[in-house]
Amino acid sequence: MNSSHENELTEIRQKVKQLLVSNLGQLEMLGPSEIKDDVALFGEGLGLDSLDALEIVVLLKKHFKIEIKDMNEGREVFATVDSLSRFIQMNAPKDGN
């Protein structure tokens, strides 16, 4: 993996964390830097629930122009900040954001 690809992924991770903290009440007590890349977003990790999943779907549409059509796919994608960021990197239109 080249460094520009890795830099882009780092930027996406930062943006994802900022969006999660700004838009999901569950996380407003945290700063973006307190969310680890590999911590589980749902359940025992950060404690997000199904309505938060819906919010993330809307955030992906609004900020990255990515549509999640299959929620089974979403289950894996939404596992961690890292998995979500990698999915965005692979699927966001090049003129996205």
Binding site: N23, Q26, M29, L51, L54, E55, V58, K61, K62
Partner: protein, 355 residues
């Protein structure tokens, strides 16, 4: 009307959260409003007044409007020393009065529809844009399962809420009602006030000017009263009369009249009975700002004065040649106080409170 006794009060306003802060503000008098980045003046609730993670974790999806209500409502319960767990939770009703509802959130939903399309609107933001959302969050945070209602009648929403609370208690349907108001400032609201109303650019309101459009500064906040018809639980006196007919000039057997400011004014003619009798008057809206449901703040001030048997100086002393202005803080026998609000057609409504 059967007396409705006040067991607890919760309040959040421009100088912070809590009845102690409100009482201190009444003692301290006028202060400068806050100034936004675009130079607009308003009495806004500071951000740090809305940080309490013990409450926020119960209402994590709420917006600012609902949080204002939840904080004040929880504080009213706390102030009463009531442990809700000791009560039948269906025996407490909740009524919230608001003039404009969560309009900042409503505008956010509309803006998002315009900017991104309806499929990209947050479902949580949409849910928060419903007028009754704040009342639902209050019920959820407190674990109350009784009736929940939001009343809105522009100028006189709080008076309607109080009448409804009295009615619920009279019916014996409930033991207690948590009744209060919430309204908020937003850039849109402040813009409308600037364009349509008479905003005081020096920050000083003139509620006693008897002008149709008195100078005012927009305000926001929330105030809640836990009320019942059980006189043994009384902590701050009682609501004893409410007159919303618009045909009255007020009661003349009161010790003090508190004039509200919602940007509308009453003329000397509508206040003739108060003026002729020389009844002391005060106006405290310079402390928390002017807004349609601000009459609840006047009632909170009256409740404190009846409890403490102390008159707090009116921070506005304009038109002293006309009014018998209560311009000094002093210990004084106070048995009855009336709180007055008015609309744009010179109609006055009254809430009488008794020791």
């Amino acid at each position: 009307m059967k007396p409705v006794f006040i067991e607890g009060i919760g309040i959040i306003f421009t100088r912070g959260r809590g009845l102690n802060k409100f009482e201190q503000a009444l003692k301290d008098g006028w202060d400068e409003p806050t100034v936004s980045a675009d130079g607009r003046k308003a009495y806004r609730v500071p951000k740090d007044a809305l940080i309490d993670y013990n409450i926020l974790k119960k209402v994590r999806r709420s917006d600012r409007f609902s949080r204002l209500a939840v904080f004040a409502a929880c504080d009213a319960i706390h102030d009463s020393d009531l442990d809700i767990a000791d009560l039948d939770q269906s025996s407490i009703g909740i009524i919230i009065a608001t003039a404009f509802g969560p309009h900042a959130t409503i505008f956010k939903v509309l803006d998002d529809i315009i900017d991104y399309g309806e499929k990209k609107v947050s479902p949580t933001t949409f849910a928060n844009s419903i007028h009754n959302a704040a009342a639902s969050y209050v019920a959820s945070a407190l674990g109350c399962t009784g009736p929940v209602m939001t009343t809105t009648q522009f100028y006189f929403s709080f008076q309607q809420a109080l009448l409804l609370a009295s009615s619920w208690l009279n019916e014996g349907r409930l033991k207690k009602v948590l009744v209060g108001i919430v309204d908020e400032c937003s850039p849109a609201m402040e813009y409308i006030c600037e364009e349509k109303l008479s905003v005081a650019h020096n920050g000083k309101m003139s509620p006693l000017s008897c002008l149709k459009r008195p100078k005012f500064v927009p305000g926001e906040g929330s105030a809640f009263f836990l009320v019942s018809q059980d006189s043994r639980k009384k902590k701050y006196g009682a609501f004893t009369e409410i007159d919303i007919t618009g045909n009255s000039h007020g009661w003349t057997d009161v010790d003090l009249s508190i004039i509200g400011t919602n940007a509308m004014g009453g003329s000397e003619e509508v206040y003739k009975d108060i003026l002729n009798k020389g009844i002391p008057v005060a106006a405290y809206s310079s402390i928390y700002g002017g807004f349609m449901t601000g009459n609840a703040f006047e009632c909170a001030a009256a409740a404190l004065m009846l409890k403490n048997q102390t008159q707090y100086a009116s921070p506005n002393v304009d038109r002293t040649e006309l009014w018998n202005v209560a311009d000094k803080s002093k210990e004084r026998e106070l048995n009855q106080i009336q709180c007055i609000s008015h609309n744009n057609t010179q109609k006055l409504v009254f809430i009488k409170m008794t020791k």
